[in-house]
Structures are given as C-alpha cells and as structure tokens.
C-alpha cells in the first residue's frame, strides 16, 4: 500500500512534465514544424551566414508591416483578413500616380501614404459593410472580395487609364496609349524611399535595439498594472535584449563581414511604431471594445457596444495599414507587376502569421514577427537546399509554394477541428 503511494508521488511530476510537453507541442505544432524545416533546409543549402542575414533582413523589413496589419481584425473576431488585398491594390494605384507625377524618395513615400489613407478608409468601409452581412464567413468573403476587386482594378488600369483617365507617360503606359504596362519600375522614384532614410550596420542596430528594448521591458515591468500577470516574460525580454546588445558590441569589435550588412532603419522604425501602436491600441477603450466583440458578438451587443461599427473600424484600420505596408513592401522591391503583385500579398502574409503560431481567433505581434522571419527563412534557403540536394533549385521552389499554401489549409482545418472538439465537449457536459 505505502510503496504504491510512494511510487505515485514519484511518478507524478514526470507525468505532469510529459503532459505539459505534449500540450506545448500540439499548441505550437505549425511553428515547431517550420523551425525544424528551416533548420534542415538551412543545413542542406550550405548557405553562408552573411548572405542569409543580408537577405532575411531585407525581406523581414519589407514584409513585417503588412503582416502586422492582419492583427486587428483577428482581435475583433473577424478572422484573417484576406481583404488586405484591397489595401494593396489601393497602394499600387496610388504608387502608379505618384510615379507618374515624378515624386520620388521619402517625399514620394509620404505622399503615397497620405493618398492611400482616404482610399483605404473608403475600401475598408465597403469591405466592413459587406463582412457585417456575412458574419461568420468573413474569411471566404474577404478572399472572394479580393478576386472581385481585382476585376475592377484591371478595368481601371487596363482600359480607363490613358483613355478616360488621361495619362501621358511613355514609361508607364503601354505603347497603344491605353493601359499601364505589366511592370512598373520604381528605380529613380520611390525605390528605397523609406529604406534609405537612415541605414545602419547590423551590429549597431543590435546594440541600439538591445539597449532600447531592455529599457522598455524594465519600464513596463515597473509599470505593470494588470495583476495576476506573470512577470517572468519581462525577465526573458531583458535577458534577450542584453544578449543582443552584447552580440552587437562583439561583432563591431570582431571586424567580421556582418558589419557590411546594413539595416533600413527608417523602415524598422516604422515597423516598431506600428507594434507600439497596436500594443497601445489594444489597451484603449476602442481596443477593449474590439476584444469584447471578438470574443462574443452577442454579449458585446447586450452590453451596449456597437458591434457592427466596431467591426467596420477594425477592417478600415487593417485596410489602411495594409496599404501603407504594401507601399513599404514595394519601395524595397523597386519594381512591381501591375496586375499581380497585390495578389500574393494576402496569401503570403496570412501564411506568415499562421506559421508564427497565430490562429483565426488569436494573433499577437510576436507571432506576426516570428512568422515573417520563419516564412522568409524558408523562402531564402529552400531553393538553395533544392539545388544542393537535387541539383535543381526549382524543386525547392515547388516545395516552398506547397508549404505556403499547405500551411494556410492545414491551420484553418486544425482550427475548425479544435472548435468542433470544444463544442462537443460542451455538449457532453
């Protein structure tokens, strides 16, 4: 009898640990799978660190803003906003005109952002109105809306521009005089308009980031108001920040090639500001209303929150942010395909945030950034890994496309499955 109880006590902590581990693994399945895949591909590709870092920095700074634009609709319970494609189209439309007017550099970026804002608000409002009529099917509606809007976009830029909307520009307009060319080149114009505002070498950025992040974490640790919240994450934050700073100092001293990698600090500041804004916003009255609506529309409505209005505001914010994000994306790319660039934006951004561990009902800044990092890591290393292993870069290419779409499908299916399990458990009670 007594030996049995002793055994039970001895077994318990181990069992608990195992359970916690299994719980962690299932909760972060997609992210963990991606980390493993990326590591494997990185190993197979035999890529050197400088090359990889250079590429990933440029890609992360290019894409992060767009992915962060997805967070607010998730908070408001509207799922992943496939309709950010509309924001991207608005951005492209604005960029075409800004390029036509010949406004370049940082001024051009500011002008584009200023112009895309009212357009984004208008499109976001219409999208929000539509999504309010299709509650519960926001994602599929948003997806189809993207395709539908593409038709209008094509009509405007293939048929109206040069004809109904006069545009006399040999570079932009097709030789027939009607319609925009399939590729718009931004070099000499908006290209690097934001990136080049302020470039810093990577180790310096690490040092600065480490110092700033550590002080932010320290500050919020002291100011933490919500009781019952675990404070350990502050410690982790401070440790990571200090490690980054130390690494920066080491690299500057070492004279390694990594010192040649530059970081577009202007873009990163924009991303940082957006993160701060999202963080701040979720703690405002409006943010709290969105979280309430996101959890339960009915309860929110009964407590007097104007549910439909809140949802429209969420989509407007997302659309405008997506517009800005696409401008940042394109100024880094330097050229875009007039009739295609916006299309992948939605899918890739959504794949990225899902890889970071977000779900249809929960998305955080950390998940968005981690997701962008992992997604692009695979994008960079997969072709090289394919070339090294199979002698054909195309195989890696196929693989990453397969993975990107596969992740979206898998995550949505897993989420639906989880919801069903939960509702079954409710019935069983």
């Amino acid at each position: 009898m007594s030996s049995e109880t002793v055994e039970k006590v001895a077994q318990k902590p181990g069992g608990k640990f195992k359970q916690a581990l299994i719980g962690f693994l299932t909760a972060h399945m997609v992210t963990i799978m991606f980390v493993l895949l990326s590591l494997l591909a990185l190993y197979l590709s035999g890529m050197n660190a400088t090359l990889y870092l250079n590429d990933i920095i440029s890609r992360v700074s290019r894409n992060s803003f767009l992915v962060l634009a997805l967070i607010i609709p998730v908070v408001a319970g509207m799922g992943l906003n496939f309709a950010i494609v509309l924001g991207a189209m608005a951005a492209q439309a604005v960029i075409i005109f800004v390029t036509h007017w010949g406004v370049g550099g940082f001024a051009g970026i500011l002008l584009s952002m200023a112009l895309v804002t009212p357009l984004g608000i208008f499109l976001g409002y219409l999208t929000g109105k539509l999504l309010n009529r299709t509650k519960g099917q926001e994602m599929i509606t948003g997806l189809i809306l993207g395709f539908f809007a593409a038709g209008i976009y094509w009509f405007i830029f293939l048929q109206l521009v040069g004809g109904f909307i006069p545009m006399d520009n040999e570079v932009l307009v097709l030789s027939s005089g009607v319609g925009i060319r399939t590729t718009v080149d931004l070099s000499g114009g908006l290209r690097y308009g934001l990136d080049d505002v302020w470039r810093l070498s990577l180790p310096v950025v690490m040092l600065l980031f480490g110092a700033i992040f550590a002080s932010i974490q320290g500050f919020s640790y002291l100011k933490s108001e919500r009781q019952g919240e675990s404070k350990s994450r502050f410690y982790y934050g401070i440790v990571i920040a200090l490690a980054a700073a130390a690494g920066g100092i080491f690299l500057i001293g070492s004279g390694s090639l990594i010192n040649n990698i530059t970081v577009p600090a202007g873009t990163w500041i924009a991303i940082g500001l957006l993160c701060l804004f999202i963080n701040f916003f979720t703690r405002t009255k409006m943010g709290q209303d969105m979280r309430s609506v996101g959890q339960d529309r009915h309860v929110a409505a009964v407590s007097g929150i104007p549910v439909d209005k809140i949802r429209i505001i969420a989509i407007i914010m997302s659309t405008v942010l997506a517009g800005w994000g696409h401008i940042i994306f394109l100024q880094n790319m330097g050229a875009f395909s007039t009739y295609g660039s916006y299309e992948q934006i939605g899918f890739y951004a959504i794949a990225a945030i899902l890889i970071g561990g977000a779900t249809v009902t929960k998305a955080t800044i950390g998940q968005a950034l981690l997701g962008v990092f992992l997604f692009h890591t695979l994008f960079i290393v997969a072709p090289a890994a394919g070339r090294e292993t199979f002698g054909d870069a195309q195989i890696g290419e196929y693989f990453r496309v397969f993975v990107a779409y596969g992740v979206i499908g898998l995550t949505l299916a897993m989420h639906a499955w989880k919801v069903r399990l939960q509702s079954q458990q409710k019935l069983g009670r």
């Binding site: 009781q227 019952g228 405002t284 007097g304």
Partner: protein
C-alpha cells in the same frame, strides 16, 4: 398610494407578435428593497415582460408594446438595453453574458470601463483613452465584497465554476452606480443546490440596500423562501399578485398551472416480477460526467422501471450505454440473448428505442419537419417508408404522411401540421415527436432519459401520462431515467437508485422519503423488498 413610493411600475402592459397576443394588461409595482417574484410556466409571458422592461430589439422590431413603464413615478420609454441600463435597470441573464477570456474585473466593467486620458485621446477623441485597471480592480473588488465573494478579481472567467460566473454577473449589475431595479431571469436554473442558496442570500442582501428585485423563476420553493410579493402569470395574463404571507406553495402551483396537480394514478396492484426482459451485468459505461461502474440490473417485461439518483452518479450513463452511444463494457441480455455492445444499430435491431436526454442536440432534427423526424430512424434502420425502384430507393411520402398524422393524433402533438419544423414546437411537443419516432420502431423496450427536462409543468404531466398510457395499452417495457424523483415515483413500478455508478438499491414508489434520501446519499440497501 402616492406613485413616488414605487421604484418601478408597469401599467396595462401588453404585447402582441403579428397579431398574436402574448401579453395583456399586466400590472406590476415594486417598492425599494422589495423582492418581487414573477412565476409562470414556460410561455406564460415572463420572458416577453422582461424583454419589454429591458428594451430588447425583438420587442421594438415587432412594433413595440402597449401600456406604460414608470421609474420612480416618471414614465420612461426604453427602446434599447443601453437605455434600460441608463434608467437603472440591471439584469442577470439566464444565459451568462460573460466573456471567458476576460478577467472578472474586465467582465464587471464590460463597456463601462474606467478610462484615463493619454496623448492620443486628446487628439483622436475619447475612444482612444486607455483603461484604468487600478481603479477598475478596486471597483470590482468592492462589488465582489458586497456579495461575500473571496475570489481574486483578476482571475479569468474561463473555467470558473458556474456559481462564480453567476456572481460575476451580479457583481457587474450592482457595480452600476444608478442601479434601482435588478432582474433575475431564472437565475438558479443552472446552479447546484448550495450555490442556489448562496444566490438567494445574496438577493436578500442586495434588496437590503434598497434595490428592488424582480425574480423570475418557476421554482416555487425558492419563491417562498425569499420573495415578499408574488405575481403569477398564465397564458400572457396576470392571474394574481399576492404578498407571500397570504399564500402557500400549493396555491401558487395551482394558480400557475390553472388545473389541479395530482399524481398520475396507476394501478399499483400488480408488481410484475415475471419474465426478465433485459439482464444487465457488470455494465461499465465511459460517459463523461456520468460514469457507470459494474452495474447489475434486471428489468421485467411490461414494467416501468425508474432509474434515479443524483446528478453525476451515472444514472444517465445506463441508457446511453445500452444504446451503444458511449464506450461500454459488460454484458446485456435481451430476452435471454446477449446484445452486441457499442453498436447503436444492433441495439435498435433488438427492438430497443431511446429518447435521449439531449432532446435538441441528439434527439431531433430541429430544422426538419415533424413527419420526417417521426420516420427517419425507421427509414434508416428498418428500410420502412421507402419505395424501391430497382437499385434506387425513394421516400414514400404518402405512407409517411399517413403514419405521421396517425401519430400526431394518438399522441396529441399540438402543431400546425406534419410539415411544421420541429424547432418551432414547444418542449413538450418536441418530446412527443421523440416518443412518436421511438414508437415507429415498434420497440419492446423504450429507454427514456429525462423526458420532462426543460418542459413546463402542464406539458410534463402530459408527457408522463402518454408514457403510462403506452405502457398499459401496448405492454411495452419502459426504463425511465429522471432527475426528478417525484416524477419517477408518480409513474414507475420500481425505482433503481444509481449511486457512484452502481445500483444502490431498488425501491417501491411508496417507500418513505427517508429511504430515498439515504440511498441517494450512498447507503446501500438490500435489493427487492
């Protein structure tokens, strides 16, 4: 009496939906600190009355209401829940209006968050103000303390016991500074007994602060415990308003139902200890929350056997196990031949039919017609009501219609016709549809779980009478599981009490209350008697 003395008055209030009058000439008056109970069966108009008071959209989308609502003597026109709250009316809903991922504080302060200015709010307006958690927590603490709740205010609501959730809702209402009238809509329906008595105590405490309470319920014992005044509604009309002192529980029940309540008379002369129709041995059923552990039970042909016991002890699991709906072990013999377990189709083939306790979830196709609901199991399992055309099968509509009409007539299902959707029926009539479907299978054994759950008093009786009539006329064996002991005792020949997953003993309906009480508490008794 001067009108100012009343906090809330409703005068000549009436309401009709598309010409159907559901509420007529209701008068109600509440003084400060009074607990006023409104009792009535389902469909008596209680909910409509509360929807009017709370300004629910359903009222105003269908043309508003008649009569006047006065608060502190002033007429008010409440057209939205927001206005009701501003007028000082608080409501504790039947279903929880809580957000599970929020802390108790956040739920208490839902859409009434305390805000403070920041840089952005000065530019972009009050919607960008930040939340002041410190003050919010303080307020929440105060409200919880009023209710003697010692739970931390920053705990998330998800995973809290039901009782705590309810108290969180109440705390939200009493946190409202201008609260004058508080409505409790069937608050004890979801609570365990000890939680319910806590709630009643809390109500008295709130009333002691000068807040008037409107207590909607159909649990008469609770009404007698806390109410000062009782209003009875029946069929949308006010039947009586009486001070508690001048009435008693029997009179209330009579007024509510409008017909005398009596136990269903049954010939209790012959206890059939004859042929064993089902022998259950070592039955173990893994049903979550209703575990059955090595249960033995013999069922005699033609009897009504009751299975009673406290919630969570396993009584519900027995029928679900026999039907193969949850993983089951052990042996069940039907008419001497073993039944293959874990196979619902096999159970049905052996002429066992089942009325699930989860009528709306498992039992019915809510958005299908009555006739389809009646025949669907027979179509699926016995290939009846279909025509064969070579390799194809077609539903035989005329046969179905004929059968459905017969069933509707026999069981007295109140409906507009066999095409009506089952969702539109009342609980009692839905249960009759379930019975009709079970009978369509021509079963020898009918398993009935919680047949009267969620059905109002009058319809309960009809359902029970139907079961007794069936038993007497067709000789069908009925195994009825129910949480309501009184119900079992009114119709059953024998009652098996299930405690901790096994049969604690079998009692006769006329055994004393003490016997039942002891056995449900786990005191074993020898079988038979």
């Amino acid at each position: 009496m001067p009108e100012q003395q009343y906090l809330l008055q409703m005068q000549d209030v009436g309401k009709s939906y598309y010409g159907t009058v559901v509420l007529q000439d209701i008068q109600l008056a509440l003084k400060p600190g009074e607990i006023h109970a409104v009792v009535g069966e389902n469909g008596a108009g209680k909910s409509t009355l509360m929807n009017i008071l709370f300004g629910m959209p359903v009222i105003h989308a269908t043309g508003g209401y008649l009569g006047k609502v006065l608060i502190e003597g002033n007429q008010v026109d409440i057209t939205s829940p927001q206005q009701a709250m501003e007028a000082g009316i608080g409501m504790v809903h039947q279903e929880f209006m809580l957000l599970p991922n929020y802390s108790i504080t956040e739920n208490i302060k839902l859409n009434r968050e305390i805000l403070k200015d920041n840089l952005f709010s000065r530019i972009f307006g009050p919607k960008m103000k930040s939340l002041d958690f410190k003050t919010m927590n303080k307020d929440a603490r105060k409200a919880l303390d009023t209710l003697d709740m010692d739970i931390e205010e920053y705990v998330k609501v998800a995973g809290l016991p039901v009782g705590h959730m309810q108290f969180t809702e109440i705390a939200r209402e009493i946190d409202k500074a201008n609260l004058k009238v508080m409505v409790f809509d069937e608050p004890t329906a979801v609570l365990a007994e000890s939680e319910a008595s806590n709630l009643l105590r809390a109500m008295q405490k709130i009333a002691g602060q000068g807040i008037a309470i409107l207590f909607i319920t159909h649990r008469l014992d609770e009404v007698m415990e806390v109410a000062d005044t009782i209003t009875v509604l029946r069929d949308g009309r006010l039947v009586a308003t009486k001070p508690k002192k001048e009435t008693n529980i029997v009179e209330m029940a009579e007024l509510m139902v409008g017909r005398k309540i009596e136990t269903i008379t049954r010939r209790k002369d012959q206890l059939k200890e004859g042929q064993v129709v089902a022998a259950i041995k070592n039955l173990t059923v893994r049903m979550p929350g209703e575990y059955v552990k090595t249960l033995d039970l013999e069922v005699f042909k033609g009897e009504i056997l009751g299975i009673g016991g406290l919630a969570g002890q396993g009584k519900i699991g027995v029928a679900n196990g026999i039907m193969g709906l949850y993983p089951t072990k052990g042996s069940v013999e039907i008419n001497g031949k073993p039944l293959q377990l874990n196979n619902p189709r096999e159970s049905m083939k052996r002429k066992i039919a089942f009325l699930s306790e989860d009528r709306r979830g498992v039992g019915l196709l809510l958005d299908s017609s009555i006739e389809l609901n009646i025949v669907v199991t027979a179509i699926e399992n016995q290939n009846r009501f279909i025509r064969r055309l070579g390799p194809f099968t077609q539903i035989d509509n005329s046969a179905i219609r004929e059968h459905a009409l017969k069933m509707i007539k026999e069981l007295d299902i109140r409906c507009t016709g066999p095409n009506q959707l089952v969702r539109r029926l009342s609980g009692g009539n839905q249960q009759k549809v379930c019975i009709a479907r079970a009978l369509t299978l021509n079963p020898e054994i009918l398993l009935v779980s919680e047949p009267t759950r969620g059905i109002d008093v009058g319809a309960k009786r009809l359902v029970l009478e139907t079961l007794v009539k069936l038993n007497e006329e067709t000789g069908i064996t009925i195994i009825m599981t129910s949480s309501e002991l009184a119900e079992l005792r009114s119709v059953c020949d024998r009652i098996a009490i299930v405690t901790d997953g096994t049969v604690a003993g079998i009692l006769k309906p006329d055994d004393s209350d003490a016997d039942y009480g002891l056995m449900m508490a786990g005191q074993k008794r020898r079988k038979g008697a």
